[in-house]
Symmetry: C2
Subunit: 267 residues, 2 copies
């Protein structure tokens, strides 16, 4: 298929179709206030490629250290508040795009992190947890691919979290009416067909509504902001010996009720 | 003066005038590729208010832990690489705007941090230090106002660094032909007329060109990106007893050859 699309899915299986929307991405759609279900031209899902669900989010906010098994494997303390770090937009890629590995002389310690990702649908400031949940437009999947040696070079994770072209987001947004507060969903990653992470979003130490309420105390959440909620245990850095993504590695990240990201690693 | 302006200064002292530019902010001007010195209508400097130099930067990148005396006072180790963290756009305010204090039940530990701030004028990727310096459009001042207890609540600084309406940037950009690599400039902060920080940008542990080269290994720097280079010793958290900004506190941050920020703290 020519070009990059975002759309809604109509049907499943081999004959599923995508309904194209009148906006360049889901962020623009949400900001317009238009009806999310309004249809347009249909095209086959098969062969479609997807841009990141929101291509130009005002903010990309990530929560780290938020599943008990990942906290233990990384040697962190359980959180008393969300551990927050950022990514910049140039990190984002689509659901089937290649992950851009930095060249080996920069790093060979590239790791996977499947995460439930929230898309904000309403401005939110100083919100209670109930108000916060009402601002969720929907959910997608984010693979918080991490350059571990750069992440650990200083106290601050950012350097290892925002390498250009490393963070798949997608394939689409599933609206909140289908997934509620995002809990109770099987979450899994595979590398080259071998399961690496296999958990459930009910194991989040700090859940979606609490994360959003906390963030809204700091600053206004904007329509189209994307918020990654943390990754479960099973990352490469915590394995013995450590395992890393390399040229040609195929990473599949899936969340129940949403779909999957499939990305190949390339220099 | 009605509205918010960015411009160039013509003359000094009480009769100085600002030449208005044909762009909404310095970022838009730089992205347009237009002549930085091209003039327009002049208005008096006296009474003007300034928006943040770049109101919608693609990225706001901050370097922490980058002056020896501040490293010592905060109990950090000297850096082997730039310590990087982010701010989001909603943190930014102009050179004379009020700093928005969070209410006392959220935090009373609000601190000052004067910093030399780089504005990027050319896209930069995988650049040498020489190439990096050539991408600097100019310099401004940033007061990295920090909510210390939120900054220290987890391992990651971000929460305490991006409270809405807390970060003055300005008052204008001084082009690189006047300030070279940004070293050798007196840098100072005062609170209610008392000097708190008084140093020189030559004491940066990691200088501007090295910071930019390092960042360009991670991701492309975009035109209009703003990069704060770290603060010298003398912050409130490191004083005995600690000192904090409060309702009505007046903070003045100045850098030789650039100008000053003057902001009052308000709930």
């Amino acid at each position: 298929m020519a070009g990059r699309i975002d759309g809604t899915i109509d049907g499943t299986g081999g004959d599923a179709e995508i309904v194209l929307l009148d906006h360049p991405d889901v962020g623009a759609l949400l900001r317009s206030g238009a009806d999310l279900t309004r249809g347009g031209r249909s095209v086959p899902l098969a062969g479609a490629t997807f841009a990141p669900v929101v291509t130009h989010p005002e903010k990309i906010i990530c929560v780290g250290v938020n599943y008990a098994d990942h906290i233990a494997e990384m040697g962190h303390e359980p959180p008393t508040a969300p551990t927050l770090f950022a990514k910049y937009r140039r990190a984002l890629i689509g659901a089937s795009d290649d992950i851009t590995l930095p060249p080996p002389h920069i790093s060979t310690s590239i790791d996977w992190e499947v995460e439930l990702c929230v898309v904000i649908g309403k401005e939110l400031r100083n919100a209670s947890e109930t108000e916060a949940l009402d601002a969720v437009a929907g959910y997608t999947i984010l693979n918080d691919v991490s350059v571990r040696d750069w992440q650990k070079r200083t106290s601050q994770f950012l350097a290892g979290k925002t390498f250009e072209g490393t963070t798949p987001v997608g394939p689409w947004m599933v609206t909140r009416d289908e997934l509620g507060d995002g809990s109770g969903l099987a979450i899994r990653s595979e590398v080259n067909g071998v399961v690496k992470q296999d958990s459930n979003t009910s194991k989040l130490a700090i859940g979606v509504s609490e994360i959003l309420s906390y963030l809204s105390t700091i600053t206004t959440l904007d329509v189209g902001d994307i918020i990654a909620t943390g990754t479960p245990g099973g990352v490469g850095a915590a394995r013995t010996p450590p395992e890393w993504l390399a040229e040609g590695s195929e990473v599949r990240c899936s969340i129940e009720g949403i779909g999957e990201l499939r990305n190949t690693c390339r220099f």
